[in-house]
Amino acid sequence: MTDPGRPRIFLVDDHAMFRSGVRTELGHAVEVVGEADDADSAIELINERVPDVVLLDVHLPGGGGRAVLQGVMPHHPEVQFLALSVSDAPEDVIAVIRSGARGYVTKTISGGELLQAVYRVGAGDAVFSPRLAGFVLDAFAGGAGAEMAAGVDPELDQLSPREREVLRLIARGYTYKEVARDLTISAKTVESHVSSVLRKLQLSTRHELTRWATDRRLV
């Protein structure tokens, strides 16, 4: 990141309205280096301009947000992706996270929160919307479930009690700062818990996650 105060962001969304909305809301705090309205042009432009953060619409003509992730990440792993959608369907959310996005928020998010999410993703942390936290709790429910496939890594397929607590508070609508205060831990610790959950989310072979992924023909 060249200028930590003003991250360079790239907008991928097929709705021009949304793109201009984000521009006006975040324009003062970020540098918008480009826009695209479909997957192919997005891959081309992102690989060319290498922004800090890509705001990626999950539903996109030409293969969806997942195609963009697959087209960019092998070449520029330093580019961070923050997924956005209106729908909130679990398979959409899980699909983009497992494809490599560092965070997921809904489009109803306020400008200030979106900016915070951009900063956080730009710094390599994970951003969980309450919705995503709920999905993860759902997917990892029941601890070491009997329904898990044989030979899975318990380290990856279970949430620690602390991670569970953090996710629960996020799902209740708490900000990272509020979570930290409620659990009397530092904000940095909250972020590391969330990043650890994100990693599990991306790598776990838990039945629920693979099922959601299969629904999106990811595996």
């Binding site: 109803t108 306020s110 309450p130 919705r131 936290a133 709920g134 799902a171 209740r172 609508g173």
Partner: protein
């Protein structure tokens, strides 16, 4: 000549003639009971007072007078009526069944009379009971005008115990009780040796009858008081529930309408939604502000709640549900309480978004309603404030759940609701 004309001719026919003149009719204007004596007197020319004395003597002697009177009542048309009560009674099957039901009473009275060797009671009872049967038919089949008279004037005279405050009825009951009681005691004390074994039984029966006559109406009134007390309590509960429902729906809507007075379209939408809800409450019995059968699972119910609150209150509702289960009555109550919490947030917090998080556990459902608005001091809210007290806490505790409200000024508010999924084993 029609019957009416005949009747008029009879009236014109001299009263002093002792000859029977054609069909007898009961007299509607010279009557004490049914006008039978008046009619007879008119038809025969015998003075009405004499006829009455004759009936009273016949009744006291053997009871036959009562029966004859009842028969006459049944068979003679009143005034200028064209049909008799009897002609209507023959098709009144319910009435006839009631009369048949008197037969066991008749049998019992006969048995008691025989057992007690009271011959006159036995011979007295059958005409009286027959007359009672006829009285049932008369009451059920009398003409409209006569029935009004029976219901308004005659029955109140007989129903002495019905009016608790009437001194007359009290005196009459006391008198009847004393007569029966003294009679019973006399039978008990002066029992003849010949039937010594059975007399005490008869005496006891009479004493019991006395007690029933004296205290029966009082017992009845006690039972009536109990029933009305229970009804009153049910009504108070019903009122409380209704107040909660009206508060949840109508009052909320009215407050919203006042706030959005400058947006006519929004007002119309609110009013229409409220109208729909009230209709479904009044005519389909579904309480307003509740999630009905359209939602099967908890997640369905919460997303329905989300849509309704977003539509009605213009606030974004963010919903996260972990796990799911079928909706039960107690979970519907949980949803009602969470609706109230979210609506409170929409109305008072000033926040643009409220978060609902629900987690379904094996034993309980936890639900959090959180806003980032101005917050309040939960201690400062009077405990009787309708919204929090009734709609949230009372609803939860009615099903064994609990509600915790956390807030402080400037910090937003969070309502934590917990509802056990099944009855707690105590």
């Amino acid at each position: 000549m029609d019957l009416h004309g005949q009747w008029k001719q009879h009236r014109r026919g001299g009263r002093r003639s002792h000859r029977l003149r054609g069909p007898i009719r009961r007299s509607p204007d010279a009557r004490v009971l049914a006008g039978v004596c008046g009619g007879l007197s008119r038809a025969t020319g015998i003075d009405v007072t004499l006829v009455r004395i004759g009936f009273v003597l016949l009744s006291l002697g053997s009871g036959i007078g009562v029966l004859v009177y009842a028969l006459a009542w049944l068979l003679l048309p009143l005034g200028d009526e064209t049909t008799t009560i009897f002609s209507r009674a023959v098709t009144d099957w319910r009435g006839i069944r009631l009369v048949v039901a008197l037969i066991p009473v008749f049998v019992v009275v006969q048995l008691v009379a025989a057992a007690l060797h009271i011959g006159y009671l036995g011979s007295f009872s059958w005409p009286v009971l027959l007359a009672a049967g006829l009285a049932i038919l008369i009451h059920r089949n009398a003409g409209a005008a006569e029935r009004v008279w029976i219901n308004d004037d005659l029955l109140p005279m007989l129903r002495t115990g019905a009016d608790r405050h009437s001194r007359w009825s009290l005196a009459l009951r006391a008198l009847a009780g004393v007569v029966l009681g003294v009679g019973g005691l006399l039978v008990l004390i002066l029992g003849h040796t010949s039937s010594a074994a059975l007399r005490p039984v008869g005496g006891a029966l009479l004493v019991i009858a006395a007690i029933v006559v004296v205290f029966g109406p009082w017992w009845l009134s006690l039972v009536r008081d109990l029933i009305s007390e229970r009804q009153a309590r049910a009504m108070v509960e019903e009122r409380a529930q209704m107040a909660a429902h009206v508060h949840d729906s109508v009052l909320q809507t009215l407050a919203l309408i006042q706030r959005s007075a400058d947006d006519p379209r929004h007002v119309v939408r609110l009013a229409r939604a409220q109208e729909r809800e009230l209709r479904s409450w009044l005519f389909e019995g579904r309480p307003p502000g509740t999630i009905g059968d359209e939602a099967v699972t908890l997640a369905d119910g919460i997303s329905l709640l989300q849509r309704q609150i977003e539509a009605d209150h213009g606030i974004t509702v963010q919903v996260v549900v972990v796990g799911d289960c079928d909706l039960t009555d107690r979970l519907r109550a949980l949803l009602d309480a969470s609706r109230e919490a979210a609506v409170n947030a929409a109305k008072w917090s000033g926040a643009g978004q409220v978060s609902i998080y629900a987690e379904v556990d094996r034993d309980a459902v936890m639900l959090f309603v959180r806003d980032r608005g101005q917050g309040f001091d939960p201690e400062a809210v009077p405990g009787d404030r309708q919204g929090i007290a009734r709609s949230i806490r009372a609803r939860m505790s009615r099903f064994g759940g609990s509600a915790v409200i956390r807030s402080s000024p400037g910090e937003g508010a969070e309502v934590e609701l917990s509802m056990p999924r099944r009855e707690l084993v105590r």
